[in-house]
Symmetry: C2
Subunit: 189 residues, 2 copies
């Protein structure tokens, strides 16, 4: 994986995360983020409506990739296989930028309630997007919702493992988590 | 179930939800909520730090009940049976106040992004509390997390059904959803 060649947008995201980690989310201003990224305040606002949005700008893209991957799974794919295709579509777009960001982001989010709410909403958005895509494939409601929730767990756990393991793909980890969850579902009682 | 006898706290919550529904969350002030509830602004602040907190004040209690119910399940309870005990402990505390609130709240939350984030965080908090309680019972990590996620789905779906069905208990609905999810888990593939 080549070292990422940052454009203004990626520089802004990384600058924001660094500042949030150094001095806290609340104490960080848009002007500071723009300065650190080497751009003007108006450049910041060309990319993001607000400080809050720096960290959630990738959400729409994430949901779109999940949905496309699920849509393009083979016709006979089981619910979890379809989810696995959705996660593979996300995995294919992951770069070293995402890895570096993921490394820094865990600490920042853990320290800030507002960012935790955004992360929780991101999970809910992913679950909802995957549920819709699975329903569109004809799976029944509880099966679709359950498979989507497993997909969210697989993404979150798999992403944390991927960030910590250089030289691997995200999909390797998300598939391993899906396997663990499939096995666990036999032990729910 | 007897009609709820509102104290100041419950009157404030209901007044807030009514105002959010009538004129929107953003347009509603603490003074308006206090007026509608027939109390002073300082009484409002004795109960809640902020407007945002009116709707999430019950979260800590919810998590505590789930954990206690899971702790008190029979020693040989399966993961989902333990979750069912957690949900039953919540169900035992539900009054007509919760039902009336639940009826009004759906519309209000659907119309406001900030409240959706709080709801998402509430689900994440429930999942986390149940996971901890299940791990403490000795269940393995993926099983505990999965059972907890099913518990959240059962609570959310079950609560919506309970609100719509007078004369039923919440636990009847959450147990039915757990059964549906148990059956669905056999079809994940």
């Amino acid at each position: 994986m080549a070292r990422w060649q940052p454009g203004a947008r990626q520089r802004l995201v990384m600058a924001a995360v660094d500042l949030f980690a150094e001095q806290g989310y609340d104490a960080t201003t848009v002007v500071q983020i723009a300065d650190r990224a080497g751009v003007t305040k108006s450049t910041f606002f060309r990319y993001f409506p607000d400080k809050r949005d720096v960290l959630t700008a990738g959400q729409a893209m994430l949901s779109r990739l999940l949905v496309e991957g699920i849509e393009q799974a083979p016709p006979d794919a089981s619910p979890l296989t379809a989810v696995s295709h959705g996660l593979a579509a996300v995995s294919a777009q992951m770069t070293s930028f995402n890895r570096e960001l993921g490394t820094k982001l865990g600490t920042v989010v853990a320290a800030n309630a507002e960012l935790q709410e955004r992360e929780a909403l991101k999970s809910a958005g992913m679950a909802s997007a995957m549920t819709e895509a699975l329903l569109a494939r004809g799976f029944a409601e509880p099966v679709a919702r359950l498979a989507a929730e497993l997909g969210v767990l697989a993404f979150r756990t798999g992403f944390a493992r991927w960030v910590a393991a250089e030289g691997t793909t995200l999909a390797e980890h998300t598939d391993a988590v899906l396997d663990e969850l499939r096995a666990a579902s036999a032990d729910l009682g």
